[in-house]
């Protein structure tokens, strides 16, 4: 055998081995790519090489009409435990440190940290605290506390916090605190908006989260798309007016020892809500006690959004609508006379005045000035009749939603002759605001038709919507024209005259105002409450071109039951400041300016 033959055989042998190896590799490659276990191999390859992430855009910000920030975004940190990283020492140090730092019960924290979570198949837990009802809530800390904890984690001489992890999460911040809390609503830890503007515009504010596939091996040099951002909102609210109104309401509640109350200030020309205050206040930064259950969410919450969900019997403020209907149909005139005998029978039901007295001969202005139930029941029964009365109440939107852009609005209740439970006496009582329930927003909207020359503009709270594409200004919509301009002007003049005679507490020197007081009994399941009332006042000005319309409602005042004593002074106090803040000169200034002085 020559050497060339040996070499050739060796070469063939090596080639054979190499061919075998290559064949094996190709077979394995085909098996991995296309075999029955291909998905398993693909999943293994994906694991660690890429990640699917849900990207949530920042929630839109909310401003008042002057650019003051009302709602923004910040960061909070959840406290989580990585169970497998806990040490014997850290199991004691973590509860002890957090208990002292956050003033939380040590036993509860200790129980959470020392539970054998691994046996339950859990390796990462979020620490919780219990509220007053014993419900667990995730513990969240702000940036300052997070920095302290991070300092402990980095310091070898500090308590052993091994296993403790701070997980950042977005948090809604309301810089003005409780101011306008009822208007804004709140956002929970999952980023869902509840009540008010946050609830109504939740979908717009929150934007649209997207899912992205982020590749790490090989690392992709690719800009990931941003999710469509939430819009920014500018409200019609003026923060300075809101603060002033809230202060006035708080002082009124405290001085009258009342249970609760609301004030709404509207521009009757365009339906813009300038301020909407409620007591007790709601702090959207600490919303947990206000979180709704399913029923409340559907029906509205009269405590959280009393302006649009807190129904009440309006009492005498409702008389302006009965009078408006009669004037509009020319059934009465301001000088029409009525002899008040102190009582009237409507459908077999005797109606008496608020004081039980008979007031003798009165004009229609006198009926409003003395707030005579008998007179208004006479107008409803003898001058209007059920068909016309309820047709006008319907045009004023009583019993219907106003469509204001706040979550949780309810419609109130008005029985009409079409309802099976309506009776003729209802016509008499409804004429002066009894047996009918409205929300403050509904009453204000109805009265705005009188203040705005017959046009009832839809109330709204959002003035501007700003998205990535630009700004959009919602245009005010006229809901209806229940009365003519002439009727509105006549009734306004009557109410200005009657107000000047009815209560001195609602007069502001230099400004002509129109308004009506209301004192309503509170309906209960056993009839009307013998003790408590709802004192209210609705007024507007300055005449002849009203720029504001104010509704004051005080529930269960203890010092006096009357709207003229409890609610009218609040209106006066608010208007005194409002004319300054809105830059509305008094009549004398206008006269001087016109004369060139």
């Amino acid at each position: 055998m020559n050497p060339d033959g040996v070499t050739r055989r060796r070469i063939r042998f090596v080639l054979f081995l190499m061919a075998g190896a290559v064949t094996a590799l190709v077979v394995q490659l085909v098996r991995v790519q296309f075999g029955p276990y291909a998905p398993v191999f693909a999943a293994r390859a994906e694991y660690g090489a890429s990640r699917v992430e849900k990207v949530v855009p920042a929630r839109g910000q909310i401003y008042d009409r002057n650019g003051n920030l009302l709602a923004s975004n910040g960061t909070m940190f959840y406290l989580e435990i990585e169970v497998r990283q806990l040490t014997e020492l850290s199991q004691k140090d973590i509860p002890l440190t957090l208990s002292k730092l956050l003033l939380l019960p040590l036993e509860d924290l200790y129980a959470q940290v020392t539970t054998d979570w691994a046996a339950l198949g859990q390796y990462r837990i979020r620490l919780t605290r219990k509220d007053a009802n014993g419900n667990p809530w995730p513990i969240s800390v702000d940036k300052t506390v997070a920095e302290v904890i991070n300092g402990f984690l980095a310091d070898p001489l500090a308590p052993d916090l091994s296993g403790l992890d701070l997980v950042p999460a977005p948090k809604r911040i309301y810089p003005a605190g409780t101011i306008a809390g009822h208007v804004l609503g709140f956002v929970n830890q999952e980023g869902q908006g509840f009540y008010g503007v946050e609830g109504y515009y939740d979908e717009w504010l929150s934007g649209k989260p997207i899912t992205i596939h982020r590749q790490f091996i090989p690392l992709e040099a690719r800009l990931q798309p941003d999710p469509p951002a939430g819009v920014n909102l500018v409200l019609t609210i003026d923060l300075a007016i809101q603060q002033m109104v809230e202060t006035a309401l708080k002082e009124a509640i405290e001085s009258s020892l009342a249970e609760s109350g609301q004030v709404i200030v509207m521009d009757p020309r365009n339906g813009e809500i300038l301020a909407m205050a409620a007591w007790p206040v709601l702090d959207p930064n600490h919303y947990e006690p206000w979180l709704p259950d399913t029923t409340e969410e559907e029906e509205g919450n009269p405590v959280i959004t009393p302006g649009v969900a807190g129904t009440f019997e309006p009492g005498s403020t409702f008389k302006v609508m009965t009078m408006a209907a009669a004037l509009d149909l020319d059934r009465v005139k301001p000088e029409t006379e009525f002899i008040d005998t102190g009582q009237i029978e409507v459908g077999g039901h005797i109606i008496r005045n608020w004081d039980g007295r008979s007031w003798g001969q009165q004009t229609m202005v006198g009926c409003l000035q003395h707030s005579l139930n008998v007179c208004l029941a006479w107008i409803a029964a003898d001058k209007l009749g059920a068909t016309d009365l309820y047709a006008y109440l319907s045009r004023f939107g009583v019993g219907r939603l106003t469509g204001v852009d706040l979550a949780g609005e309810v419609s109130g209740k008005l029985r009409t002759p079409r309802d099976p439970d309506w009776t003729e006496p209802d016509m008499g009582t409804n004429s002066f605001g009894q047996g009918v329930s409205v929300t403050p927003m509904q009453l204000l909207t109805a009265v705005s038709a009188i203040a705005n020359y017959g046009d009832m503009v839809q109330p709204h709270i959002v003035r501007q919507v700003v998205g990535p594409q630009g700004a959009y200004w919602p245009q005010p919509a006229v809901l209806s024209r229940p009365i003519t301009r002439q009727t509105a002007e006549t009734l306004t003049t009557m109410l200005a005259q009657s107000l000047e005679g009815e209560t001195r507490y609602a007069v502001v020197p230099g400004y002509r105002l129109a308004g009506k007081t209301g004192t309503a009994q509170i309906a209960t399941e056993k009839g009307y409450d013998p003790k408590w009332t709802v004192a209210s006042f609705v007024g507007w000005g300055p005449l002849p071109e009203p720029r504001f319309l104010v509704l004051v409602r005080i529930d269960k005042p203890a010092t006096a039951p009357w709207g003229s004593v409890i609610a009218a002074p609040v209106f006066q106090e608010i208007v005194e400041r409002l004319v300054v803040m809105m830059g509305l000169p008094p009549d004398t200034s206008l006269a001087q300016a016109a004369a060139g002085g």
Binding site: A58, L70, N73, P225, L239, Q243
Partner: protein, 159 residues
Amino acid sequence: MLGQRMGVKAKRTHASRQAPWRLQVRWTGKTMLLAIVFLVVSGVYLAVNARLAKAGRDVLSLEEHRSDMLRLTSELSAELATRTAPETMMARAASLGFHAAQPDDVLFLTVDGYMPPADFIAPRPPAAPDEGQAMLSPAYTETLGEWLMRWIGSPGEPS
């Protein structure tokens, strides 16, 4: 012609038998050439991939930085708003001796040509970059084949 070719082949065979190292040198040269081409292409791939990885890491880092900046801006805006909240400002004004103006405190004047301040317009939320902005240089995305095709299609373009 055929005879001429056969003659050349016979001469080469003869030369190889005379000096076998010539054949080895030729094969070694070819192999080395292939190896060098392979190394050059691999080097180019490695350089491109290294730049790609660095760019990817930079993108990630910049994205995180942008998120942090947006969050910080938002937090600082909220902090500023908290410090200038009406209650705080009212308390500060009161401590400085001011009180809320009443109608009697105010003198209204007619000023010719006065223009009231313009309505506030909220800032636009950050928009998603459009297709043009989001597109990266082809250097980071195209394959060598695509690069060659592009180069052949327009010789002056690649750089």
